[in-house]
């Protein structure tokens, strides 16, 4: 995921995220109260919510095949 943060004049910060680097056509935009620090603090939460709410767009992780324990 890639992101961009823009600080606004009204004490808010806008966050834009994109999952194109993962081959997923999903972009998200939101705003937080505060500046860069608040935006960076909220960013992983926003990312997790997008992955959860759009889980059908993300491929399931492959389960490892069976084998002998070392």
């Amino acid at each position: 995921m890639t992101h961009d943060i823009v600080v606004n004049d009204d004490n808010t910060a806008s966050i834009s995220v994109s999952f194109l680097d993962e081959g997923i056509d999903l972009q998200g935009n939101t705003s937080v109260k505060g500046g860069v620090a608040e935006a960076l603090r909220y960013l992983p939460v926003f990312e997790a919510d997008l992955r959860r709410n759009f889980s059908d767009l993300f491929p399931l992780p492959e389960m490892p095949q069976g084998g002998m324990m070392p």
């Binding site: 972009q27 998200g28 935009n29 939101t30 705003s31 937080v32 109260k33 505060g34 997790a48 709410n53």
Partner: protein, 107 residues
């Protein structure tokens, strides 16, 4: 903006259900815009929020909302906001404590 506040009850939503967007948002101690999808729904007419936490309360308002100001949404409560669809007004939410989950519906 007009709000119906229902705690744990049944709500009746009047609107075009074909355009409904739903999702779960994590509300944190950082006030952030709240919406259902990847961005706020364009021309939304209703915003319905359900506090899915059993103990924590969150507050909503404009971008100036704090943990002490804004309208409180009690654990398990549902709040319905009628919004002027011609004016895009971001609604912000902030937890009074730890992170909590909010079910969101936009029509």
């Amino acid at each position: 903006m007009f709000a119906n506040y229902i705690a744990g009850g049944i709500i009746s939503v009047k609107g075009d259900i074909r355009d409904v967007v739903t999702g779960i948002k994590t509300v944190t101690a950082t006030a952030a815009e709240i919406f259902a999808g990847a961005t706020a729904k364009v021309n939304r007419k209703k915003l319905i929020l359900k506090n899915e936490d059993p103990v924590l309360r969150f507050r909503i308002g404009l971008s100036t909302v704090t943990q002490q100001t804004g309208f409180p949404v009690e654990p398990g409560a549902i709040i319905e906001l009628d919004i002027d669809h011609s004016v895009a007004v971001p609604i912000y939410a902030i937890s009074e404590g730890a992170n909590l989950n909010v079910a969101v519906m936009e029509i």
